[in-house]
């Protein structure tokens, strides 16, 4: 059961990290505002669902987010690009700041009531006395469907081939007569739309509040580093890995003392470290994993390049 939950969460993470990785490997931009687009997706979907319902929102909200992303690329990033990578990074950093404030302004500082649609509210099946909600199944379906579509788009279509070519040899592609800046805009818009879609289906499964971008943002970065910068396959493996680690560690109730006892180290009784349970450690586990990866395999699980 934890495994299924972990996979669901991992797939959601992959929707975010795939967009981030695509944007990074293509344009060399580490989009700090990526999780902000995830948040925007959730809020747009909430707004649309109060007007015309969940299902149109599922389609419209990611498109809107993608449009916002494309506009940001066209009118902001392209300008910042001239000043180098640090300026780009700082631009997205400032953007994340701004988006959070604007969300505060429009939707307030508390969580909004973005709910799972009634059709998807219920139990799909029961396993070992625990229920698996339909909505989780739906999330998996959407994520996997999106994954297959992305894979097909990148490997089977003309535009996908051009994108792949522009990843490695942008100058050559440009010389062949393709409009590389426009491809960049499309990729950025597409990547942010993916984040928006993740927000649409993640926002009601978890909670839609102004802090959601910050909560998921750093985890997505960990995923991208662990998987290897610019590697889609690595991002996929790392997303599932971290999704499972987080879900399992929340479900386990053994303490740090027990873990150390397993490897034959007795911690002194009553120290603060010894009293911690794995559940309490859950928030820092992804970061520990990242540090470990960086020490032992700096390029990430499946990364091709060193930095």
């Amino acid at each position: 059961m934890s495994l299924l939950n972990g996979i669901t969460y991992g797939l959601l993470l992959f929707m975010l990290s795939s967009g981030l990785t695509l944007i990074f490997s293509m344009m060399g931009i580490l989009n700090f505002a990526h999780a902000s687009f995830y948040m925007l997706g959730a809020y747009f979907a909430y707004q649309i669902s109060t007007w015309i319902g969940f299902w149109p929102g599922l389609l419209v909200a990611p498109l809107l987010v993608g449009a916002v992303g494309a506009a940001v690329e066209r009118y902001g990033l392209r300008r910042a690009h001239r000043f180098g990578h640090v300026a780009e990074l700082l631009f997205t950093f400032g953007l994340a700041f701004l988006v959070e404030e604007i969300v505060h302004l429009i939707w307030g500082k508390v969580a909004v009531d973005y709910r799972i649609p009634v059709e998807l509210d219920g139990t799909l099946f029961s396993l070992f006395d625990t229920d698996f909600p339909i909505y989780k199944g739906f999330m998996m379906l959407v994520s996997v469907g999106m994954l297959i579509a992305l894979y097909a788009l990148l490997t089977r279509t003309r535009i996908g081939l051009i994108i792949q070519a522009a990843l490695t040899k942008p100058d050559m592609v440009e010389a062949l007569g393709h409009n590389v800046p426009r491809i960049f805009m499309l990729v950025f818009g597409g990547g942010t739309a993916l984040a928006g879609l993740a927000g649409v289906i993640g926002g009601n499964a978890f909670v839609t509040e102004p802090g959601m971008a910050a909560a998921v943002g750093s985890i997505v970065f960990v995923v991208v580093v662990v998987g290897g910068l610019g590697s889609l396959g690595g991002a996929f493996v790392a997303s599932l890995l971290i999704g499972c680690i987080q879900t399992f560690s929340v479900a386990l109730s053994i303490s740090v003392t027990d873990v150390f006892a397993l490897i034959g180290v007795d911690l002194p009784e009553g120290s603060q470290l010894a009293r911690l349970t794995i559940t309490q450690l859950a928030p820092i586990l992804p970061y520990m994993l990242m540090v470990a990866i960086l020490i032992f395999r700096p390029r990430g699980l499946m990364g091709a390049r060193e930095s």
Partner: protein
């Protein structure tokens, strides 16, 4: 080499500048006597040290860190615990030395964490520093014994009997004096560092790591050393903030603090030693003054930051330096009318935007004072929010301002480029 460093730091012109800065810093509380101004000045002093230590990484070594608050926070927490440990047995002299303890704590944190983070430069470093920052921030909530949980750790900086040359550090003015002394020492030390071989190598590693390696330097080691030293000065700033507020919360080492120091350093200008000083002073003033006037201050700050990134990526210091170059070439007068011409539509644009933002906040930002108000005060004017008139005026002002700014801005840019080419033409 040492004589070269001391020569550069204490050249006569520079000695005058140091003296003037110190004199101004000491004279300020004589002019601004209110408690509000004094705490503002104290905050500024702390932030100047913090921002300068940050620029040792970003400006001098080219390392964009998103977790610099870790060293600041560790310095603050360790100093606070040290203050509580020395307790009644200590005296004002020990208290005055506490920022050094904070600095050592920051240095130690740099030794431990920097070993992991500085393995890589560039984007990877940025992400690792972010991860480490999150890791430490998450740990802070996990060990309430050391970090004090939600409430933080507090202490009292007036301990023991007697005084040090008449100082007990009780009154805020005396605290300000202590901050100025430490800030001055730290600033001189950090400036001296830029002149040492290590400081120069850091610049080389920033600009061309490959070449630095060919010359025979280990770039990783240079980054590591710079991070450790930067951690030291961040820790000094942390120790000062612990003494200043007499309370340290987990907020001091989280991502927000890291973000603020990055913003102020960048706004001030990372390419110049004095840039972060300007940034720290300006942002602290904005934070406290504008933050006291409006709820929307973070929004304004975000807009201002994006504006700086897009228009003046070198920060305020680079703008100043450009004007100085023009002045020296006798071309400054040529640009003045253009500056004045572009300032007017920008003022109009700003006024329109501020109006729109303030009215939106009053109408939308649900909680607190102006909850769903239908009337609000913007720039001293009473606005009726449920009638279309003020909205239309604000929108029109914004639109007119934007159009004029684009139009006149284009002409100013043309004049600017012409002046610049004259300037460079004169040189070659």
């Amino acid at each position: 080499m040492n004589s070269h460093v001391s020569e550069a730091v204490f050249r006569r012109g520079r000695l005058l500048l140091w003296g003037a800065c110190l004199a101004v810093a000491i004279a300020l509380p004589l002019v601004f006597k209110s408690g509000f101004m004094l705490s503002l000045l104290c905050q500024m002093g702390v932030m100047v040290v913090f921002a300068l230590s940050y620029n040792m990484l970003l400006g001098q070594t080219g390392l964009l860190s998103f977790g610099h608050a870790v060293y600041f926070g560790m310095g603050a927490f360790i100093s606070m615990h040290a203050l509580n440990i020395i307790g009644k047995d200590g005296g004002p002299l020990l208290v005055a030395l506490l920022p050094l303890v904070g600095g050592l704590a920051g240095l130690l944190a740099g030794v431990v964490l920097g070993y992991v983070t500085t393995k890589k430069a560039g984007t990877t470093f940025a992400m690792i520093s972010l991860g480490i920052g999150e890791l430490v921030a998450a740990c802070a909530l996990m060990f309430p014994g050391f970090f004090g949980g939600e409430g933080g750790v507090s202490g009292n900086r007036v301990i023991g009997k007697g005084n040090l040359l008449g100082f007990t550090w009780g009154p805020q003015v005396e605290m300000y004096g202590l901050i100025v002394a430490w800030a001055f020492l730290a600033t001189v030390a950090m400036f001296a560092l830029t002149q040492t071989p290590l400081g120069r190598m850091a610049n080389a590693v920033r600009d061309n790591p490959e070449r630095a390696e060919f010359v025979g330097y280990d770039t990783q080691r240079v980054r590591y050393l710079m991070l450790i030293l930067s951690g030291f000065f961040a820790g000094v700033a942390g120790g000062l903030t612990a003494l200043n507020y007499e309370i340290v919360t987990a907020e001091t080492l989280n991502a927000h603090t890291s973000g603020v120091v990055l913003l102020m350093t960048f706004v001030g200008g990372i390419g110049f030693f004095y840039g972060p000083i300007i940034g720290a002073i300006l942002v602290t003033v904005m934070q406290i003054v504008i933050g006291g006037m409006t709820q929307a201050w973070l929004l304004y700050f975000g807009l201002f930051f994006l504006f700086m990134v897009l228009m003046a990526p070198g920060g305020i210091a680079s703008v100043i330096s450009m004007q100085r170059n023009l002045w020296q070439a006798g071309l400054f007068g040529r640009m003045v009318p253009h500056y004045l011409a572009v300032a007017l539509p920008m003022l109009v644009l700003t006024a329109g935007l501020v109006g729109l933002i303030e009215m939106s906040y009053a109408l939308l930002a649900g909680e607190g004072v102006g909850a769903g108000d239908t009337a609000t005060q913007v720039m001293g004017m009473q606005m009726q929010l449920n009638s279309p008139a003020p909205w239309a005026i604000a929108l029109a002002t914004t639109a007119v301002g934007m159009a004029l700014t684009r139009w006149i801005g284009g002409r100013t840019r043309a004049a600017w480029n012409a002046t610049l080419s004259t300037l460079h033409g004169d040189r070659t």
